[in-house]
Amino acid sequence: MSPKPGNESATLPPLAGRSGRWYSLRLEYDSSRTRSPWWTPILSVVLALLLCAVFIAANGMSPLVVYEKMFRGAFGTSYGFTETMVKAIPLLLCGLGIAVAYRISVWNIGAEGQLTVGAMAATAVTIYFPGLSSFWSITLMLVFGTAAGALWGLMTAVPRTHFGVNELITSLMLNYVALLALDYVVFGPWKDPKGFNFPGSPMFTAAQSLPVLGSTRLHIGLVFGLVAVLIYYLMIRFTRWGYELRLIGANPTAARYAGIHIKKHIIIVMLISGGLAGIAGMAEVSGVTHKLMQGISPGYGYTAIIVAWLAKLNPLGLIVTSILFGGLIVGGYSVQTIGLPSSISEMLQGAILFFLIAGDMIHRFRIRRSA
C-alpha cells in the first residue's frame, strides 16, 4: 500500500545531494596551501619502492630480497657505507648547484655535462703541468675544474637571458656535447700510451690526487661539499644577494618592479651551479678514479636533480638526500651480483620524483562538502 499523498516527507529521508550527504563531497583546490609538508619526501620514497616492487616481481624476483640486497650493499658494511659516501659527494655538490639555480626557477639539467668538463679541465692540469707540487696541482685542478664547469653553465645562461632560449634544452644538449668531447680526449690526444689501448688518460700521481681518509676511498671532496652547503646556507640566509634570490623565487614580477636585475641573477646562479658541478667532476677524477675515462659519471647530474627536489632545496636536507641516493647507486651496483641490471636504481629515482611532485600537489586539495 502506497503512502498517502503529502505524507512522503515523514516516511522518506530528505532529498540527498543538496543537503550534505556523503556523496556531495568534492575535492577542492586550495591555492593558499603552497608550503609542501615534510612527509611527502618520505612517503614518495615508500611509494616508489612499492611501485618498483611490482616490476621486480613481474620479472620473477622477490622485491624483498632485492631491496634487502640493495640496502645491505649500500649501508650494511663499512666498505659499503664509505662507498655510499663517495657517491654522495658529487650528488651533494651537483645537487647544491641545482638547488641554487632552482631558487629562481632556472632549470639546470646540465650538471652532468658541467661535471664532465670539470673533470676534463682538472685532467688537463695533470697533462699540461705535470711536475707541480701537491699543493699547486690540487689548487690549479680545483680552479680549472670550477672555471670549466662555470663556463659550461654560462653557455646555458646566456642563451636564456639574451636570446630567450629555454635553459632545459640548452643544458641538456651541452651534456651530450661534453660527453662526446670526453670521448674524444680519452680515445684521442690524452690517451695513455702505456694504457694497453684502453681509453683513458694516464694515472694521476700522488701529488695530483686528493687526500683520502685512512685506507678507504673517502676523499677530501666531502669537506668541499660540506663547506659549500654551509656557505649556501649563510649566503641565502644573511646576505643581500640571498635575499634578492629569495625575492625572485617568491615573486619574479614584484622583484622586477623592485629593481632587481633578474638577468644578472640568472647568469650568477648558472655560474655557481656549473662551478659546483665542475668541482664535483674535479673531485671525481682526482679523488676516486685518479684518471679521466669514459663514463666518469653514472648519471650523477641527473640524480642530483632529484636530490635537490627531495631536499626541498634545504641545505641539511641536501646532505641527507645525497647520502640516501649515494646508497641507491651503490645498492644498484650490488644487485648486479644476483643478475639484475643496476638500472633498477634509475627506475626508483624516476618513480620517487613522480610521487614527490604528485604528493606535493595532492596535499593542496581539500575535501569539502558542497553547500
Partner: protein, 309 residues
C-alpha cells in the same frame, strides 16, 4: 644512386622518428601542457616494440603495445599536470628518468638480439621510372608514410576544423574556452595522451627502421632534440616536417663526412645536431625577440577554474 638521393633517403629515415616525436610534442603543447618526457617515452616505445616483436613475432601487435604503454604514461603525465596541477617540467623529467630506468631494466633480457623483421615497404611500380622520386618512394616504409599522412591530417585538424579550434583555445586561453563550454580538462587529457602515444611510436620507428636491435639508452638524446624541434617548428605540423628532415640530414651528413674519410674526428661530427639545435634556437630567439613566437599562450600554466562555494 647519386649523393643527393642517398642523402635524402638518409634524411628521411633519420628524420621520421624525429618527425613523429615532434608531432606528438606539438599536440601535447598545443593543449597547453609542456612535454619534456619525450626521451623517456621514446625509450619506452622502443623497448616495448622490441620485447613484443621478439617474443610474438607480430609487428602490428608490437606497434600497438608500444602505443598503448606510452599512452598510459601520457595519462600519468596528464593526471599529474591537468588534474593535480603539478609542475609540468618536473613531471616530464620524472618521465624521462623513469622511462630510461625502466626501459633499461626490462630490456636487459633482449639487449642486442636483432628484431625478426623490419617495416614493410610500399611498392609503387607507377613511380619507378621517375628519376629521383621513384628511387625515394620505393624506399619509404609504412611508418614513414604514416608520418607524412599525419603531418597533413594534423595540419588540417589544427587549422581547419572546429576540433582544432577547441584545441588551440584550450592551449591559448583555457578560461575563455571553459566559458564557451569547451571541456578543457578532457581535451587536455586526450591530446596529452595522443601526443605521448605518437612519441612512443617514434621510439618504435627508431628500432624498426633505424637501429634494429635494443640497446640501453638507444635514443641518445633524440627525444630532447624533438623537444627543441617543437619550438623550431613553432608548434606547426607542416614546419615540423621540414625541421625534422633538416635534422635527419644533419645527422646523416656527419656520418657521411666520416665515411668520406674526413680528418675531423667523428666525435665532433656527432656533436653537430646538438650544437645546431642550440644555435638555431638562439637565432630564432634573436629574430623573434619582438614578435610572438607562436607559443601556445597558456603553455605550462595549469588551468584552475574559479571556485564556487
Amino acid at each position: 644512386m647519386d649523393f643527393t638521393t642517398q642523402l635524402l633517403i638518409a634524411a628521411i629515415s633519420a628524420g621520421t622518428p624525429l618527425l613523429l616525436a615532434t608531432l606528438g610534442g606539438i599536440l601535447t603543447e598545443r593543449a597547453g601542457i609542456i612535454q619534456l618526457g619525450a626521451e623517456g617515452l621514446m625509450l619506452m616505445g622502443a623497448v616495448t616494440t622490441c620485447i613484443v616483436y621478439i617474443r610474438s613475432g607480430n609487428l602490428i601487435l608490437a606497434l600497438l603495445s608500444a602505443v598503448a604503454i606510452t599512452a598510459l604514461l601520457g595519462m600519468v603525465h596528464s593526471f599529474l599536470c591537468v588534474t593535480l596541477r603539478a609542475n609540468q617540467t618536473m613531471s616530464g623529467l620524472a618521465m624521462t628518468l623513469f622511462g630510461s630506468g625502466l626501459s633499461a631494466y626490462v630490456g636487459k633480457s633482449i639487449s642486442g638480439i636483432p628484431l625478426p623483421g623490419s617495416l614493410p615497404k610500399l611498392d609503387l611500380a607507377v613511380l619507378k621510372p621517375v628519376p629521383v622520386l621513384g628511387e625515394l618512394f620505393g624506399r619509404l616504409d609504412m611508418l614513414t608514410w604514416f608520418s607524412l599522412l599525419l603531418v597533413l591530417v594534423l595540419h588540417l585538424l589544427i587549422h581547419h576544423t572546429s576540433w582544432g579550434l577547441h584545441l588551440r583555445a584550450v592551449g591559448d586561453n583555457p578560461a575563455t574556452a571553459d566559458v564557451m563550454g569547451i571541456r578543457v580538462q578532457l581535451i587536455r587529457y586526450c591530446y596529452v595522451t595522443a601526443g605521448a602515444a605518437l612519441i612512443g611510436l617514434a621510439g618504435a620507428d627508431m628500432v624498426l627502421a633505424y637501429a634494429p636491435t635494443w640497446n640501453e639508452g638507444l635514443t641518445a638524446g633524440l627525444g630532447w632534440i624533438a623537444v627543441g624541434l617543437v619550438i623550431f617548428a613553432r608548434w606547426n605540423p607542416l614546419r615540423a616536417l621540414f625541421c625534422a628532415y633538416f635534422f635527419g640530414a644533419l645527422d646523416s651528413l656527419g656520418f657521411r663526412i666520416q665515411l668520406l674519410g674526413s680528418a675531423v674526428p667523428s666525435y665532433f661530427l656527432k656533436m653537430i645536431p646538438y650544437v645546431v639545435t642550440i644555435l638555431v634556437l638562439m637565432y630564432l630567439g634573436y629574430r623573434n625577440r619582438n614578435k610572438p613566437s607562436g607559443t601556445p599562450e597558456s603553455l605550462g600554466t595549469p588551468y584552475i577554474r574559479e571556485q564556487r562555494f
